[in-house]
């Protein structure tokens, strides 16, 4: 397979289009399975009652929010070093989805926090750094839309994504650095083993579903980006020819 051929936006366009539905389909199926586990297989938590079921969206969303940023940074590296347009577009296509997951992690966390801690929000390290992650996503997108020369926008946002990716480990380790209200890694170990297993299973399946969803949506958005950029060039060329 000629890799270079596929790394050109034009040839990748139909490939993206034909792959996307499969990913979205798998995502849908896994989502249903995950929800079934979340509501019907997982037993009630004896401390938190039913509220803990929020974990099945909260944790996968929080994981995705961090992963997606790392992957954007990864594409940015590829873009900057190989100067390939497609990589920049990949990064750009992921950003809104990442921001949505960050937003969901924040909101579902708050909704969980109200019954558990009695407050919608506490200024604890993990919560705050997750909020910062949302700012980074917004900053990334704001920078991209503020620059209307796409070449510059692509590369400038790539540099930003790379530099700001240092925040992700900070979110991850924040619970260690500060003693906080938020759960440390793996509540599951404190539970009975059988229950832990089913919970872990549920979160994993939801996570995979979110993953597939992210890939599918990113591919679709990639198609839009390619088409929009392509159209602008065609449109301008025609305007020049008809002169």
């Amino acid at each position: 397979m000629n890799w270079y051929k596929f790394s050109s936006p034009k040839t990748f366009y139909p490939v993206a289009g034909s792959l996307a539905p499969y990913f979205l389909g798998v995502a849908g199926a896994l989502l249903i399975l995950g929800l079934y586990i979340a509501f019907f297989l997982a037993p009630t938590d004896f401390q938190q009652g039913e509220a803990y079921r929020i974990i099945f969206v909260h944790v996968p969303a929080a994981w995705m929010s961090m992963f997606v940023y790392l992957i954007m940074a990864g594409w940015s590296v590829v873009g900057l070093s190989l100067n390939s347009k497609l990589s920049y577009m990949m990064a750009q296509a992921l950003a809104p989805t990442g921001a949505i997951f960050t937003f969901l992690a924040l909101v579902t966390g708050s909704l969980w926090g109200k019954p558990m801690w009695g407050a919608w929000w506490v200024w604890d390290a993990r919560l705050t750094s997750e909020l910062i992650l949302l700012f980074l996503y917004v900053g990334y997108m704001a920078l991209h839309s503020a620059l209307d020369d796409v070449r510059r926008a692509d590369r400038a946002t790539a540099v930003f994504a790379l530099v700001s990716a240092v925040n992700v480990p900070i979110i991850y380790f924040s619970v260690k650095w500060w003693n906080t209200l938020h759960q440390g890694a793996s509540v599951s170990l404190t539970q009975a083993p059988a229950m832990a297993k089913i919970m872990l299973m549920g979160m994993l399946i939801m996570s995979i579903s979110f993953w597939m969803y992210t890939i599918g949506v990113a591919l679709l958005r990639l198609q839009c980006i390619i088409a929009e950029r392509e159209r602008e060039i065609i449109w301008m060329n025609e305007a020049q020819r008809s002169e």
Binding site: I233, M236, N237, Q240
Partner: protein, 205 residues
């Protein structure tokens, strides 16, 4: 020797030039012509290494300028639309700094002579902020009398200059070419220079 090979220049979605070729030899001046917006400034910025093209090459002594950036820069004087003058420094300080930054030994006597030539001697201790449009351009051109480099790239150097300053610059260009310098400039009127040394290049599709 400067060569431009198969250059393509795009700004935004519009194609300004494609397969553009040009070469410039010692003792030669290229006068870039073209209507407003044909891409003269864009071309000069690419040639001087300030922006990069997607296809095509700019070669200095047969080496791509992107691979030998510093060597190339030290052979080049670029003076753009913007006069590159710090409003808060005095005229003299501005000149001194711009020379020092380019690694030129600064001799205060010669500096003052050059300011005399461009007619700014009386204002040498004023902050550059108060200069008139034409005086600013004179100041940014003063470097041409002090820094010996083979290649000059000048973007509309005659803009805002009065008749006398116009002549002065033309004389300096003549000298530079005679001592086998090279120059590429844009201007909307043809500079009054020995026709043998001058090559006209027109842009515009």
């Amino acid at each position: 020797m400067l060569k431009v090979r198969a250059l393509e220049c795009r700004r935004g979605a519009s194609l300004l030039m494609s397969d553009f070729n040009m070469s410039l030899e010692a003792g030669q001046l290229i006068h870039l012509q073209g209507a407003n917006g044909t891409g003269k400034t864009s071309l000069l910025r690419i040639i001087s290494g300030l922006s990069t093209q997607e296809t095509g090459k700019v070669l200095w002594n047969d080496v791509d300028i992107r691979t030998a950036r510093e060597d190339y820069s030290s052979n080049l004087i670029y003076i753009g639309h913007q006069p590159a003058i710090k409003d808060d420094l005095t005229v003299l300080e501005n000149l001194t700094v711009s020379l020092k930054l380019n690694g030129v030994k600064v001799d205060i006597k010669r500096l003052e002579e050059a300011l005399e030539v461009v007619g700014l001697a009386r204002r040498k201790n004023l902050p550059a902020r108060v200069l008139s449009q034409g005086q600013r351009r004179r100041l940014s051109l003063a470097r041409l009398w002090l820094d010996q480099r083979p290649l000059w790239i000048l973007d509309e150097p005659f803009n805002a200059l009065d008749v006398q300053a116009n002549k002065l610059l033309e004389e300096r260009l003549d000298q530079h070419l005679v001592s086998s310098g090279m120059c590429i400039l844009t201007s909307h009127h043809t500079p009054n220079i020995d026709k043998k040394l001058l090559t006209e290049v027109s842009l515009g599709l």
